[in-house]
Symmetry: C2
Subunit: 203 residues, 2 copies
């Protein structure tokens, strides 16, 4: 897959994503990227045909990140057995930190959030990465929890919507302290509201 032996191309992709996700595509110049990498701007054109092509390469790689995540998490799902109250919260925080707050995926989501209004392509990816992909996974997870009798019978898709709403809510307040703790509180209530009786009552 690699076209260039040295890793300048790699560092360009990495650095450009970092800058784009912080300031937005238009606010970052080719010069900014070049100087951050430690080369001259003209050298960038040896690796990419232009600024737009660099963005496209970032988008292409983002698809790979998502596909890799999906493969890994779908595999974990098929092995899941009984889920306790603590397990449910722990895996929710794991999900927040290894998807939305993952260095690669989180920066892509930040970038897409900024570009979605001016780029139909970014809008499509944003909708897919922030909603469709995680929702499909969560729907499967809740269907599994219902099938195994851990959760009460319900619409798995609606449960996934409500779960996703809570995770996104905390994700978008990530500047505020202690996202994990806030999510834990909300997920605990979510679990108690939907788990099949057998768990002890709150407090």
């Amino acid at each position: 897959m690699a076209q260039n032996p040295p890793d300048t191309r790699e560092r360009l992709l990495e650095t450009a994503l970092e800058l784009f996700s912080q300031r937005g595509y238009h606010a970052v110049s080719i010069r900014d990227i070049a100087s951050a990498v430690g080369i001259r701007e003209a050298s960038i054109y040896h690796h990419f045909s232009g600024k737009e092509a660099l963005l496209q390469a970032i988008f292409f790689r983002a698809e790979e990140y998502i596909a890799a995540w999906k493969t890994r998490f779908d595999a974990a799902l098929s092995q899941a057995s009984r889920v306790s109250r603590e397990d449910f919260i722990t895996s929710g925080i794991f999900y927040l930190e290894h998807y939305f707050l993952h260095p690669d995926i989180g920066r892509i989501l930040d970038l897409l959030a900024m570009e979605k209004r001016s780029s139909p392509q970014a809008a499509e990816m944003y909708q897919r990465f922030l909603f469709a992909v995680p929702l499909e996974h969560q729907q499967q997870a809740f269907a599994h929890l219902i099938r195994t009798g851990c959760f009460m019978a319900d619409d798995a898709r609606l449960l996934a919507d409500e779960y996703q709403a809570l995770v996104l809510y905390v994700f978008q307040q990530k500047d505020s302290l202690d996202a994990a703790a806030r999510l834990a509180t909300l997920l605990d209530r979510f679990y108690l509201a939907h788990c099949a009786p057998k768990e002890d009552l709150p407090k």
Copy 2:
């Protein structure tokens, strides 16, 4: 408060917000704004000292929008009496459409969402307009619902968090069709989960 008799200043503010909220501050040039309004770019400098000052004026006006909204909605809150299942959903949709999807506020939120990563000022306003301000209002509303026996005793702040999470979730998928219908489904479940017994059971 008005400094200039004609309304060119007004149209500049309106047009700039429209363009900024669609493409982002850096992607819009003074020329773009001028030609959209139908004047030359130099004429803008008669009304604003520069592009940044224009943005600041938009931010200043946004504070007025929010303050006006707060006054109006807080007044409505103090008059609220008993809330039926249908009322709860209707007022939630009203809230979505008259705050998050309001032409003025919605565009401000779009703009702030794009600029929050590069501008601390935008980040502060985003946090306040998307979370703090609506949450304070909702917390009061839920405290009222609990006090009047309509909702079961619970932490009004956490209920406000969960409610806000659902509304934001639908708001951010607003490109998808029928945001109101999707919100109605989620709010119906929310109401049934928290209302004090007396309402009929689902289905």
